[in-house]
Symmetry: C2
Subunit: 526 residues, 2 copies
Amino acid sequence: MATPQIRSAVRVANRLPTERLAGALLNSPSFDHERHALRGLRRASTISENKNGRKKERVVILGSGWAGYGFARSLDPNKFERILISPRSYFVFTPLLAGTAVGTLEFRAVLEPVRRLGLDYFYQGWADDIDFARKTIRVEANISDDLASRTRLAMNRHPDGAGKGSMFDVEYDKLVIAVGSYSQTFGIEGVREHANFLRDIGDARKIRMKVLQSFEKASLPITTDEERKKLLHFAIVGGGPTGIEYAAELHDLVRDDLKKTYPSLMKFVSITVYDVAPKVLPMFDKKLADYAMDRFKREGIEVKTEHHLTRIRPDEDCEGCLKLKIKEYGDEEVGAGIVVWSTGLMQNPLVQKLEDKTFQMPSSSNSEMRLQRDAKTGGIVTDANLRVHMVPRAATTPGSLPDQGIKAAAAPLPDVYGIGDCTVISGLGLPATAQVASQQATHLAKRLNGGDVDAKPFRFRNWGTMTYLGSWTAIHQSSADELTGWMAWVLWRTAYLTRSMSIRNKLTVPYYWAISWIFGRDISRF
Amino acid sequence: MATPQIRSAVRVANRLPTERLAGALLNSPSFDHERHALRGLRRASTISENKNGRKKERVVILGSGWAGYGFARSLDPNKFERILISPRSYFVFTPLLAGTAVGTLEFRAVLEPVRRLGLDYFYQGWADDIDFARKTIRVEANISDDLASRTRLAMNRHPDGAGKGSMFDVEYDKLVIAVGSYSQTFGIEGVREHANFLRDIGDARKIRMKVLQSFEKASLPITTDEERKKLLHFAIVGGGPTGIEYAAELHDLVRDDLKKTYPSLMKFVSITVYDVAPKVLPMFDKKLADYAMDRFKREGIEVKTEHHLTRIRPDEDCEGCLKLKIKEYGDEEVGAGIVVWSTGLMQNPLVQKLEDKTFQMPSSSNSEMRLQRDAKTGGIVTDANLRVHMVPRAATTPGSLPDQGIKAAAAPLPDVYGIGDCTVISGLGLPATAQVASQQATHLAKRLNGGDVDAKPFRFRNWGTMTYLGSWTAIHQSSADELTGWMAWVLWRTAYLTRSMSIRNKLTVPYYWAISWIFGRDISRF
């Protein structure tokens, strides 16, 4: 694809000569020790400094999401040196992200700066490669927090994609891989360029701006009614909790607030959720899913199941509009002001890179090893103790061994653990959710603190699933109970707050809920 | 300069054919009626719609700053149809801007969306030209609220600068020009490209990100101490209240918050204020200015008076660093992580354009007229009743008439008023401050509401000047009293809140002050 190439070119052009050289040299995925040596001197000095006189074991954590951040905050600082590496300087409280995208909440109210954890070190950058034999991570620095870099993340940054920042290495005694996953675009034309994801705070801000700007554009005297209809059609692709919740929040925003601001535009507004599956919210019982659909029908939110989007492109005849090609509709395209994309997940490029490489562990004789890859999701396979699995290279070459054989040959990779979306626990089919990730994080931290990580396996407790449906209601489902309506909403609003939020945000979030409830949502376009 | 050309090219390329044509045609500053006709049809229809069945006089307000926003909120909606035209969708409460730039306050806490005023119409765009004879304003639409467009504003957008958005015309019965002013760069090399202004919320956000990113960059293991010193040198150019307040707030941020987060970096941090004048804070008595300087000295903030910055350029050997050339230092340049620019003001391009053109008023015989231009500031001259002055063209051609003659020939331009930074009241030498602008706004609105605008002249009441000096202290000076220290700080913090803020923000601002005071300032990089 062209975009990253260009971005790459630009960034390389901006970089200073030495780094440009380094960048160019280091650009291949493989890990070569001459190149390694290139920055070796600087690295050696800095790293050794860090290690001077430390008695504690160094635990390096990759990622600052539910898994990585959750683990870092639960790991005992008296027992371990804690180093976190992430391209983002903060943790995003994802359940409230849709709320920030419509101005119910202030963006920063759902952010927790990693620096507040008081870790021994935080390095902002991407883990670019890992040498398991030498227990070393190569890191690409990322100093920029601006939207661009976030977009780069949201848009499935590839190792060969955007140009590299400066590189340095970090050594570990224990490693926790919690790099999470990216949005799956299924290679559909125009999704990367023109759709909006809803996974990071930068995404939420862009969606918010785009929606409010569509209204502003629609209210210009030179805008035709036809253009208004297109601009104010908000399309959501994916009928999972995120898509449904955003549709609901957006509807609240329009009905409660924008109606007052743009009364004359209300007749042009429409919200549609598209999904390829025959039903939305697959994780809920039919009863609850139907309840949700009834609500949406009453609110006038259209849900189009078994619809396949095949292309998104800009509308030449309507500045700020998009054209959606949908298989079921043939050639006639649907106009929209924004497409919010929340379908499947795909693996992080680092995970792909790690799974593709072979390595030799000093211990394990000298047979070549590989990480064990989950056939279905492509995630890294761990055992119930969250230890990353390696298998002899032979075992992974097709047809060499039956599945049983692979399982038999699998062994834990010493001192390397994996949690969250990027991993799959062998045997258990757990979903890639915040709930699973944060439970794994707490478990692993407890076990390492207690020193019995190999003894006690992880067990998942289902806290149930909840989805906000707009106008103060939600559906909640767990093994224990099933709730709908107002009660579920109260649960939904309070449940999460008690977990993994700083006191600051435990105060700020309810403050904004109150303010939005009294004065309406914030509509300032910033 | 190249940048706008490129931006222009890009934007034109993105625009739809008809608009591209219009954009090209309309690109010259002069106002030509064939071109006018180009969008005539569409325009006519929309405008006449707006006017259908209205009995009220239409007042069109240009600008959403202290003058424009203040006027719009005080004008009686029962007596007038209120239309506001501004490229920004919000009013910025500037006295607290420096606070948002360091995370003491949330950005949106100092914004008031124009839409909340419930005006008859708000059109987001730039007034591109005015036809006083036909009482028509040509507007260039601006739908984008993103940083880029704000920067474009902050960086003195020129009529021939960045490519045009789509155009439309708005007619008025009464016109209030309150377009404000831009930052003065004195044509110093690199200021536009590399310095940060502090006039709009987008500027505050960029400064905030840059400062925090400099700390993040400095904390990378590959960054050398020499680079750290450069990255963490924060330069402020201009010793007026804005510059001094930002220096103070920044110092608070470093000492109270970043010290905890980056203890090892503190030895590299330095803050310097540069000014060409022999003393800073010229509007204060020597006593108070000296008090301020003593405080700064104790805090370790350097103030370098009589220093002339002559160039800013990026430092090739230090990513994210700048090199400042200062006349007094000869060839050796000063390294810095950021340069915050808050020196003088310059006139808005629209003002220049209006002052350059000649026009014929149907009434005034058929002699060619011009706006009266203030020789010193270049602002539009008004009388004490805030009516814009016009003079016969002849009177303005050099040497044709003595100043007395011009004054004699000057007459109010019917139904056109001017308030705020872009105007100068003939005779009175009032400063271009928020205080003057908001008092003018209230006066003019009251007079129009009362229908005695020609009878009662504007009188300025000096509420005094206040400047925050950090660590909870400020200096305050007015005809009545002089205050320093803690009392002044309390005054400073409360005084402004009571004026021109929505209840929402009257609650939110103190909330954030409390939160920042208890938990420290927000350091999340967003």
